[in-house]
Amino acid sequence: MTIIDPTDAVPAPRSGDGDKTSPLLEVRDLHVEFKTREGVVRAVNGVNYSVDSGETLAVLGESGSGKSVTAQAIMGILDMPPASIPKGEIRFFGQDMLKMSGEERRKLRGARIAMIFQDALSSLNPVLSVGFQLGEMFRVHQGLSRKQAKAKAIELMDRVKIPAAAARVNDYPHQFSGGMRQRIMIAMALALEPDLIIADEPTTALDVTVQAQVMDLLAELQREYRMGLILITHDLGVVADVADKIAVMYAGRIVETAPVHELYKRPAHPYTRGLLDSIPRLDLKGQDLYAIKGLPPNLLKVPSGCAFNPRCEKAQDICRTDLPPLVPVTERDGTELPGRASACHFWKETIHG
């Protein structure tokens, strides 16, 4: 195995903030389908988003909204078949990854783009020590020897603040607590200092105090390495602290994008509003907690028009017939709100009303 020069795989080198023409990662009109016995499930229907170096994009949505599938498509770890990507581009430093060969993509994975998985216990191999699994990154991508890889693994474990790293490097995943395991997952993702990290619900399996520690660690390391971060979550609390911008997904589409604080202040889509209203609040103690009625749509038969219409309180006839495009959101007087867009026929009423 040879040492892979990071400039080999993709022409643009890691550039602190140099090349501004193409963002770190740009997803354009991505479609993903799954062929099942019951028919074709359109899990992702034209998703667009982009992430820059040092930026955190939070992708928000219920289960089955397509957020994880989008991430897996970016990583190139979808099982194809049954999945297929009929349309779309995933540009990494301007290069379409969907057009690369399997081997080129494999070299990007881990080295340039890494992923943190939701359940750290099941994402770590039970029969291999964590030191081995961490070291594997260096051995696969940089061709280091076992010994060098182990030294690097200890360094990484220190990095993610695992106490007594040198003593624990030969321990097995089941000997670590949940938070420590998630730190190991983060260490694995960080190992080769990738340009982009995709974190798929990194804190869902953890309790609240550990959640905060893990998120802080992630944010700190991200700042340090100036990585782009895609944070997939359904936890609005997690998002508020770390994200720069938010994309809300519903039924395989992005229904709203906004800078993080804008979104919390003034949602421009009824679905986002519903999500925000269903956060428990101390000042409304004792009242019934709001919940969005109904269930996420069955992706085999997405409702016509706006997919959210059966659950939407504002739904009119037009919502049942016409699919609302993702349009820029403006102030009442027409001034643009940078980074904001909504896919609702009644976004004006929602944001200003």
Binding site: M75, I77, R106, K107, L108, R109, G110, A111, A114, M115, F117, D119, S122, S123, L124, N125, P126, V127, L128, S129, E136, M137, V140, H141, R168, N170, D171, Y172, H174, Q175, F176, S177, M185, M188, A189, A191
Partner: protein, 343 residues
């Protein structure tokens, strides 16, 4: 990722058509596959503190415990394992050096003493040809152990490589291989042996080994395929892929160690049944043939005289039964050790 694989959990390890002991083996393989948490081991959840308990003077002392070191620790304490391992060790020793405990020559026979009972120096008596039953029983171990070990190695290698690749890559290759295994399962073992081996000349163990490998690999292949498919669903395989591991690394480093347990268990139990199969074929006159020494041949030769000289039949038959039992018990103990949740 769905927690339960979309495959029918009953179907991942299918029946083998090999009869009782093999179905037992297959059912054990299934239970092994069903416990993805198995590797946590009995001390799994207790975390770092758990390592401070009595480590003993074993080779794993002071080191973190993996599935295999846990399993080894369990095995050493399991009397079933100890007894069956000692029996097997003894069998292997007498297979390699039969003269250690039997000074005579198994082919030296004295017709004048045919069917005689035990006599000084001849504790098991004499068979129908006047040969010493004790010497022949001891020397018969060699054929049995050779056939059992070689056939099992061949079956395990061929079956797990083919089945593992089919399970990992899936698709056409998998479908093709599955149909081939179906065809092999449709061949009745004894009938197939009678037909195939009767046309093979020579009087060595190798045609028998070859025949058993030929008919035995589909069984291991199915089990390996099933357990690779199960292991493939695990998140850590996807995680390894997401971190840039190649297919070969994923298969060898991440899937194989997690999928090998059922194969080991079934192979151990199968070893016993292969020994029995060798005896069966030799009994029917198509396995080893005289002047080779084999329990099957001796049982066959003694069966007409069972009323006059039962000892000539019972000793080799008993040796055969104990050997097969030892391997099945060993497989059972190994399964228990690899899957502690089942106890």
């Amino acid at each position: 990722m769905p927690e339960q694989p979309p495959y029918d959990s009953e179907g991942a390890v299918a029946g083998t058509g090999m009869g009782g002991a093999m179905d037992l083996a297959a059912s054990e393989a299934t239970t092994l596959e069903r416990a993805p948490g198995g590797p946590e081991g009995p001390q799994g959840p207790e975390g770092p503190g758990g390592r401070e308990d009595a480590e003993g003077a074993g080779p794993a002392a002071g080191r973190p415990r993996s599935l295999w070191s846990d399993a080894w620790r369990d095995l050493r304490r399991n009397p079933v394992f100890v007894v069956s391992a000692l029996v097997i060790l003894f069998l292997v020793v007498i297979a390699v050096w039969p003269s250690l405990i039997a000074s005579g020559n198994p082919l030296t026979c004295d017709l004048a003493r045919a069917q005689d009972g035990p006599a000084p120096g001849h504790p098991f008596g004499f068979d129908g040809q006047g040969c010493d039953v004790y010497t022949r029983t001891v020397y018969g171990a060699r054929a049995s152990v050779t056939v059992g070990v070689c056939a099992t190695l061949g079956v395990a290698l061929l079956g797990s490589v083919l089945g593992g690749l089919a399970g990992f890559f899936g698709g056409t290759w998998d479908g093709f291989l599955s149909r081939i295994t179906d065809i092999f399962f449709a061949i009745p073992v004894v009938l197939g042996g009678l037909v195939l081996l009767s046309v093979v000349p020579g009087n060595t163990v190798w045609p028998v080994v070859g025949f058993i490998v030929l008919l035995g690999w589909p069984q291991i292949s199915r089990i390996a395929r099933g357990s690779v498919i199960t292991a493939k669903q695990h998140d850590y395989v996807q995680a390894a892929r997401a971190l840039g591991a190649s297919n070969s690394r994923i298969l060898l480093r991440h899937i194989a160690p997690n999928a090998v347990a059922p194969v080991i268990v079934v192979a151990t139990i199968a070893l016993g049944t292969y020994i029995a199969l060798e005896a069966t074929l030799s009994y029917l006159g198509v396995g080893l043939k005289p002047p080779s020494v084999s329990w099957g041949i001796d049982i066959s030769a003694a069966s007409p005289y069972i009323r006059n000289a039962p000892h000539a039949l019972l000793w080799p038959a008993g040796a055969l039964a104990i050997t097969v039992l030892a391997f099945i018990m060993l497989g059972d103990a190994v399964r228990d050790a690899l899957d502690p949740k089942l106890r």
